[in-house]
């Protein structure tokens, strides 16, 4: 069974159609599947529902799919860095569902773990809980949230072996591992591809069972959103 595909376009071949739901990993521009997002833009599919913590920025990340009007709806926790997003939303061209970030992460985790719904105290007594079932446990009120799944997850990892075992790097891990578990097909773009035996199985982040296709990227932009530094003392 070969999971390795030569390029992003081939790695997505046969998986894309108009109106589909896609999970896209990353936090801000950190750990986003930038090559796969570009390949989805090039595919031209439209009417997408995209589940992603953020919506990229103008000209990068999911911002590319906003420019081309390929996204119909976003399920996110924070979209503040994107002017085009705001314009499209205010014009009614884009639907938006906000989830608290932890609720979003847990909905995805639950979706991948066979849990159709769970109760959380996050958002109780706020707009987020409106219209949702609440229940008391041990004297405290909780709101029911549903598990979340998608037809396709696109994720970014640091290293993979040919089996699809993945390792992420630093805070580029974020939503990628949970999304890998919650889609019918998960496609991972990776910075390094190694032979079986070269990765320490004690340190696997995502086991290969969750990864159906892998593409080894040749080069990545990995844009920094907020470059903050301190001066060297000389």
């Amino acid at each position: 069974m070969n999971k390795i595909y030569p390029d992003p376009r081939t790695a997505l071949a046969g998986l894309l159609h108009d109106g589909m739901t896609i999970m896209s990993g990353g936090f801000g521009l950190c750990g986003i599947p930038e090559l796969l997002i570009a390949a989805i833009r090039d595919s031209g599919i439209t009417g997408l529902t995209v589940i992603s913590n953020n919506a990229g920025i103008d000209g990068a990340g999911l911002g590319l799919l906003l420019e081309t009007r390929q996204i119909r709806k976003m399920i996110s926790s924070y979209v503040g860095e994107n002017k085009l997003f705001e314009d499209l939303f205010l014009k009614g061209e884009l639907e938006l569902e906000f989830n608290p970030q932890g609720t979003l992460a847990e909905r995805i985790r639950a979706g991948g773990a066979g849990i159709p719904a769970f109760f959380t105290k996050t958002g109780v007594g706020t707009l987020v809980a409106e219209g949702k079932e609440t229940r008391e446990f041990d004297g405290e009120t909780y709101v029911m949230e549903r598990g979340l799944a998608a037809e396709l997850a696109i994720i970014h990892a640091w290293k993979a072996d040919r089996e699809g075992n993945l390792v992420y790097r630093k805070t580029a891990r974020n939503f990628n591992p949970v999304m890998a578990t919650a889609a019918r097909v998960t496609v991972a773009e990776v910075e390094q591809l190694v032979e079986p035996g070269e990765m320490d199985p004690n340190c696997t982040h995502t086991p290969g069972i969750f990864v159906q296709r892998i593409v080894h990227g040749k080069s990545f932009e990995k844009r920094i959103e907020q470059r903050t530094v301190r001066k060297r003392d000389n």
């Binding site: 936090f27 801000g28 521009l29 950190c30 750990g31 913590n53 996110s76 926790s77 924070y78 979209v79 503040g80 860095e81 705001e86 939303f89 205010l90 906000f98 608290p100 970030q101 932890g102 609720t103 979003l104 992460a105 847990e106 995805i108 985790r109 959380t120 105290k121 996050t122 958002g123 109780v124 007594g125 706020t126 707009l127 987020v128 640091w158 992420y168 790097r169 630093k170 805070t171 580029a172 891990r173 974020n174 939503f175 990628n176 591992p177 949970v178 982040h205 990995k222 844009r223 920094i224 959103e225 907020q226 470059r227 903050t228 530094v229 301190r230 001066k231 060297r232």
Partner: protein, 211 residues
């Protein structure tokens, strides 16, 4: 003389205890890390998946794979650990983080907090704020006492809530308030601030402690 931003952050830092795991919000709360009292070690959590946040990198050492929740480049420490977003919010929601320090638009006398949306304006999203205030053991708000001369400490929040009865203390440029099941009490005045001034600029009912 009211507290400037750095003094508000310094006052908030006095709430830290040795061994605390702490999440700092964006704005004045971020400054708290500059005033950690000597002899105290805390681990800073970044909800995008990191415990043990280090300072900004030296010029040229920025790593696109290493950012905080404000998307700023940062560094790691010898104690750092990384994890995914579900585990990050598991530790937040599960009550494992000792202290959350964050900003606010409004706080009510019962501890209700509003800090994520203004109706009629473009809403950026709540990010992790609702999870933090629902799950973290102690929640401290650091904010200006008023906005455009309107009080931010209210009987009831008029903006949509981030959490109900979640705030334990409020540090403003004018003083410090504690909030518990009995309501709000003023426990400290900034230097040169009179009780009359703070009463005039506060809509919320509060008691003064010690009497």
């Amino acid at each position: 003389m009211a507290w400037p931003r750095d003094d508000m952050a310094r006052r908030a830092a006095a709430e830290l205890r040795d061994g605390f795991y702490v999440n700092l919000g964006i704005g004045i709360p971020t400054l708290v890390s500059n005033f950690i009292p000597p002899g105290i070690t805390v681990q800073l959590q970044s909800e995008n998946g990191m415990l043990g946040m280090g300072p900004f990198p030296f010029e040229g050492d920025e790593d696109p794979d290493l950012i905080n929740a404000g998307k700023q480049t940062i560094t790691e420490l010898s104690t750092t650990s990384y994890f995914d977003s579900a585990q990050s919010f598991g530790m937040i929601r599960g009550g494992h983080i000792d202290l959350s320090i964050l900003g606010a638009m409004q706080v009510a006398e019962n501890g209700d907090l509003a800090n994520w949306m203004i109706p009629g304006r473009m809403v950026k999203g709540m990010g992790g704020a609702m999870d933090l205030v629902a799950g973290v053991k102690r929640v401290i708000v650091v904010m200006e006492h008023t906005a455009r001369n309107q009080p931010k400490l209210l009987h009831r929040c008029t903006l949509p809530l981030t959490g109900k009865a979640v705030v334990d203390a409020v540090i403003t440029d004018l003083g410090v308030f504690a909030i518990d099941g009995h309501g709000m009490s003023l426990i400290e005045l900034a230097p040169g601030v009179s009780l009359d001034e703070i009463r005039e600029k506060t809509e919320a009912s509060f008691t003064v402690r010690p009497g």
